[in-house]
Symmetry: C2
Subunit: 118 residues, 2 copies
């Protein structure tokens, strides 16, 4: 696969550019989890979809680099890292909701996890 990221752009189409940025199997799920209030590495690992730790590490680093999430050290525990959405990351809630709505209507047996109820 050609490199995904802000430096390899296939065209100026906003759809193509958005896919270049976050169009893979995991980025949006990480953003979903952070939107739901998760903050730490293990919380993200524990999500139902079962991301591998090497993949999660890579994605977290990438999402920081492109400015969709930010990484802050915890004050009371030096091991603890807190990940959260930036403003740009939060603005993905629009697309996210459209995708949720589409999934609920078009993919059989999908359901919101309790934490996502609106």
């Amino acid at each position: 696969m050609r490199k995904i990221g802000p430096h390899a752009r296939r065209s100026d189409c906003p759809i193509a550019c958005t896919l270049d940025l976050i169009g893979d199997r995991w980025n949006l799920l990480i953003i979903r989890d952070l939107a739901l209030g998760k903050q730490h590495f293990d919380e993200l690992v524990e999500s139902e979809e079962g991301i591998a730790t090497n993949v999660l590490t890579k994605r977290l680093k990438y999402l920081c680099e492109v400015g969709l999430i930010k990484k802050v050290a915890s004050e009371d525990d030096a091991r603890r890292v807190c990940y959260s959405l930036t403003a740009a990351g939060e603005s993905l809630e629009g697309p996210l909701e459209a995708i949720i709505d589409w999934g609920l209507e078009n993919v059989p047996n999908t359901r919101l996890i309790p934490a996502m109820a609106r």
Copy 2:
């Protein structure tokens, strides 16, 4: 990567399921092109993003299988194949518009191609 498709579901989350279905680098761009009125293999190949023909063939077959597009033989030319969106494929315009809006606002120097003006 684990197999993408309706038979390998990571969870019941509508976001995860939608990503399992169409969350890759090319599916949404093919759907975009069909939404814009393209119908034939070479029209799709000619899109600015430059999909490889083996990948396009695979994706077209896949999108037919999952019912988002349909394939019809042309009446006047037996070589000619016409691809188009099904109702389910058309219903992706909601997510697509949300992604367009997000891209236009959050990815520098993106612009709608003329055919997409609304």
